[in-house]
């Protein structure tokens, strides 16, 4: 049966196809997305598999594609998206694609290398150019130094061109006429310059003249070189050996040295040639960049298509690795898990695939019986997918076990709404969910983790919002205010004279007054039509009433939810034909729960229905405790006649169920084992029982693995877990009350502290303050009440489902069906 109630029936099918048609067949199956390939070579490592080289080739191609994509992103080239379903290439096309990719990669790398070298050259030329320009002044100064007999003044000279020159005193300057000053000129990073200076001083004790100036950072320079600041420097020294030492120091500081001609004329010539060289280089650089852009643009048109092709091929080769290739190399054997209802579709796809490859032999499908557990496959659509995901997050269902997802579609948003319960917030949540649903496709492009989770859960949020509006109407709570749609059942006027006890003076004396429902007219006798009466919103003892109401409601909802879970286990037992378990597990569990907690619900409902005076009404909790303790002293009031007898009977029944749960099943197993052992020992080879003995013998053999002690212990654990769990799980459902109280109180505090301040200003500025405060109210509502409380209620509702509900019937020990599907492959890897 193909429905969401139970996971699909799966079958193991053997496929035989020819090697030539393998690619096309597997690609057709991949497009279908309905089969899971079983690994037929489990003992083989990844490196020993047959198609490992092809997989490596595909990975290499993927790497090249990634490199291409990165380059395209760097140069801001738009990658076109393709939408058509591409045909998967066969083995020959793989080689073609491979060679295309390699050629592209080589080309691109070469272009990049050349570009880098050209840039480097341009930088050098620019440095030389600035060096030449700035050292003009230095040379003039040096020549003037030679002619003067006195050392120049110590003042630092600053030029109007914004280069800062510090003059270094030459302490031992001998200014005799025939001085032969040689110089070294170069460019060094500005940050290294002070250290450079110090080192030179230490080495040469001032036997040199050092001039430096900062290179103007033009825009072009910055584009080519980046924001590194460099200084031009020139050192005048005497003597060849000193020159060599200084050269070494410069190399140590990574300063680039350039030879500078001595005469003015030569310098001018050099400057001109550098200019022309720079022009040429700039043009070459531009041409290189244009060529690179054109190569990338051409590739960009196909990159998406190539990438999906390569991914599909890799998936196909990976799948081929899982199959068996027989000796003659002509036949491929594969084993797949496939839903029984889709066998015809798979057959058609295989026929189509083999026709495409042009082979004459159609693939053979052979369904085989197996003892292995098939994977669990739940067919979901966009709506149910979200709910199935949250169930699977806890544990994938055992094969053919009942699927809690259909019930969860209703119970999960409902339990959330019980904890969230505000129609205003519910409305905002619903509108938000509607917006996300309508924009889901454009959101998927953002590829953020948070938005992915949001998109996956958009239908859950929609349902949570709609159910919250409903519970908000029941709690009569909308942004912490109530609606009075049907007319309140309470009336204050009859409390005054002459109907009731109040006078005008009563109002002055007392701060709090209580409406007495027994005064005629105060309470109309009919409760409010739908939900909580709006009068409670302005009552000061609102919480005493609401707490009692919500706690009892939580217990009722909790016990009902758990009883529903226990009854689902009945469905499982019937399906798996474990009729013994129905009487040994389901019935005692049900009786235990009903006699204790079902009776609690009955008490709650009964107390709500009858009329009591509030001063003398017995507390249900105390009644329950006394029932368990068999405490029936006469001063404790009972709710109805015959209560004592009924309660004693119920407690005794419940207590009687515990040994039934604990002992009967292991005892029966023990008895069957004894019987089979006697049968085997008695050598009963009657053919009629032959198969029975053999099966029970094998069963007995497998059971021998589990000793009787283990069975008893397991059963004891199960029983204790259930019985104590009943109480703790019921109490756990009280979080429905706790969270709804927290939400209501937070909402009220937000209104009172933010919006009410604006409303209470009655002067003219009131409206402006109201505008500002409303904005603050809206922001805080969204962040605190919707996001924080929403997440919290979501989490608690989820926990209630996972633990309290599902541990009554859910095993969750299956593995998920993971079909070969190109759609999901492309979606996840994008």
């Amino acid at each position: 049966m193909s429905s969401l109630f139970r996971s699909e029936e799966m079958c193991l099918v053997q496929l035989f196809f020819q090697t030539e048609s393998a690619h096309n067949c597997i690609s057709e199956l991949g497009h279908l997305g309905l089969v899971q390939f079983k690994d037929l070579n489990p003992g083989v490592t990844t490196f020993q598999r047959r198609f490992v080289k092809e997989v490596k080739k595909c990975e290499e191609m993927e790497r090249i594609l990634r490199y291409l994509e990165k380059e395209m992103v760097k140069s801001n080239i738009v990658i076109a998206a393709t939408k058509e379903k591409e045909m998967v290439p066969c083995a020959r096309d793989v080689l073609e694609l491979e060679s295309t990719f390699e050629k592209l990669e080589r080309e691109l790398r070469e272009i990049n290398r050349n570009h880098a070298t050209l840039r480097q050259n341009l930088v050098e030329l620019m440095d030389i150019d600035s060096l030449l320009r700035m050292t003009e002044y230095f040379f003039e100064e040096a020549e003037s130094l030679l002619t003067y007999s006195e050392p120049p003044s110590e003042d630092s000279v600053s030029m109007t061109v914004s280069s800062h020159i510090t003059s270094r005193r030459n302490s031992n300057s001998s200014t005799s006429g025939a001085l032969h000053l040689s110089f070294i000129a170069g460019v060094i990073k500005q940050e290294r310059f002070p250290a450079f200076e110090k080192v030179l001083w230490r080495l040469f004790h001032g036997n040199f003249v050092l001039r430096h100036a900062e290179i103007q950072a033009t825009e072009e320079l910055q584009a080519v070189r980046g924001a590194v600041k460099k200084d031009v420097f020139i050192i005048f020294v005497q003597g060849g050996r000193v020159r060599e030492k200084i050269r070494k120091v410069c190399e140590g500081f990574r300063a680039s040295l350039y030879s500078c001609p001595k005469t003015l004329y030569e310098r001018k010539q050099m400057s001109n040639s550098v200019m022309t060289q720079m022009q040429d280089l700039r043009m070459i650089l531009r041409r290189t960049e244009e060529y690179r852009a054109s190569v990338l643009t051409r590739a960009a048109e196909h990159v998406q298509e190539w990438s999906s092709k390569v991914k599909k091929m890799k998936a196909i080769y990976y799948t081929l690795n899982l199959c068996n290739i027989d000796i003659t190399q002509k036949l491929i054997v594969a084993e797949i898990w496939c839903p029984v209802s889709d066998l015809a579709i798979v057959q058609n796809a295989l026929i189509k695939g083999s026709e495409q490859s042009g082979s004459s032999v159609t693939p053979v499908l052979n369904r085989i019986q197996t003892q292995q557990t098939p994977p669990t496959f739940n067919r979901t659509n966009t709506f149910t997918e979200g709910f199935q995901t949250i169930i699977d997050a806890y544990g994938v269902g055992t094969y053919q076990e009942i699927n809690p997802a259909p019930c969860t579609i209703v119970t999960f948003p409902f339990l959330f709404a019980v904890m969230f319960g505000d129609c205003g917030h519910g409305l905002v949540m619903t509108l938000f969910a509607v917006w996300v649903i309508s924009q889901a496709e454009s959101f998927r492009k953002w590829k953020n983790e948070v938005t992915d989770v949001l998109i996956g859960g958009r239908y859950i949020i929609l349902l949570m919002g709609m159910f919250s509006i409903y519970t908000g109407l029941i709690y009569n709570d909308c942004f912490s205010k109530s609606f009075n749609i049907f007319g309140s059942s309470w009336c204050v006027r009859p409390m005054f004279h002459p109907h009731g006890p109040w006078q005008n003076e009563t109002l002055q004396e007392y701060n709090h007054l209580q409406l007495n429902p027994f005064v005629p007219g105060v309470y109309s006798g009919d409760p409010y039509v739908f939900g909580i009466d709006p009068v409670w919103n302005i009552a000061s003892n609102k919480l005493s009433f609401l707490n009692s109401f919500k706690m009892k409601m939580s217990v009722i909802l909790g016990v009902s939810h758990m009883l529903f879970g226990v009854s689902l286990s009945l469905v499982n037992f019937v399906h798996f034909r474990k009729f013994q378990a129905i009487f040994l597990q389901f019935v005692p569990q049900l009786i235990f729960m009903l006699s204790l907690f079902g009776y609690l619900i009955f008490l709650i409902l009964y107390k709500w229905c009858i009329t009591l005076r509030s001063e003398t009404a017995p507390s249900i909790l105390l009644l329950f405790i006394n029932m368990m303790l068999f405490d029936y002293q006469s001063e404790h009031l009972l709710l109805y006649g015959g209560q004592k007898g009924l309660q004693i009977f119920l407690v005794l029944t419940a207590v009687l169920m515990v040994p039934v749960l604990l002992l009967v099943k292991p005892f029966l197993i023990y008895r069957t084992r004894m019987k089979t052992r006697h049968q085997v020992l008695g050598n009963n080879l009657n053919d009629q029982h032959g198969t029975d003995t053999r099966s029970s013998f094998s069963h007995h053999q497998s059971d021998e693995m589990v000793s009787m002690g283990d069975i008893f212990v397991y059963q004891a654990i199960h029983t204790v877990e259930f019985c104590l769990g009943c109480i703790s799980n019921t109490a756990s459902y009280l979080r429905l009350w706790a969270l709804s109280l927290a939400h209501a109180e937070l909402s009220e505090v937000l209104w009172r502290m933010v919006l009410q301040v604006g409303l209470k200003i009655s002067s003219g500025m009131g409206s402006l303050m109201l505008v500002v405060l409303f904005a603050a109210f809206a922001v805080l509502t969204v962040t605190i009440l919707l996001v924080m409380e929403g997440l919290s209620a979501f989490l608690h509702a989820l926990r209630l489902h996972w633990v309290e509900f599902q541990n009554k019937f859910y095993e969750g020990s299956g593995y998920k069906f993971a079909p070969l599907s190109f759609d999901s492959l492309l979606k996840t890897q994008q």
């Binding site: 302005i538 009655s762 409303f774 809206a778």
Partner: protein, 101 residues
């Protein structure tokens, strides 16, 4: 004419959502205050004198109710303006995005 665009696309979108919510909620609050709803009594700025020195009860309180209601309506009108400004910003943002690409 200098560019009238002063907020990005996200801020403008938030502005639109906030103004729609503001208009709807504040106008409904205004209606409920004008209808003298009892549930909103805590939000009305009345004092002891208003109750005690009332010549014709409960007209003082009703007057205060009306005042708060009018305040709410004015605030709703201001939010209509804010919404219009945000809408303009959204349109300008879209146009700028269109022109750049």
């Amino acid at each position: 004419m200098p560019s009238l665009l002063f907020c990005g696309p996200k801020l403008a979108a938030c502005g639109i959502v906030l103004s729609i919510w503001g208009v709807v909620m504040l106008s409904m609050l205004g209606i409920f205050f004008s209808a003298k709803s009892a549930v909103l009594i805590e939000d009305v700025p009345f004092t002891e004198e208003d109750i005690r020195d009332d010549k014709s009860p409960p007209q003082n309180i009703y007057g205060l109710y009306n005042q708060v209601g009018i305040n709410c309506f004015i605030a709703a009108a201001i939010y209509v303006g804010v919404g219009a400004v945000s809408l303009c910003q959204v349109r300008l943002n879209k146009r700028q995005e269109y022109m750049v690409t």
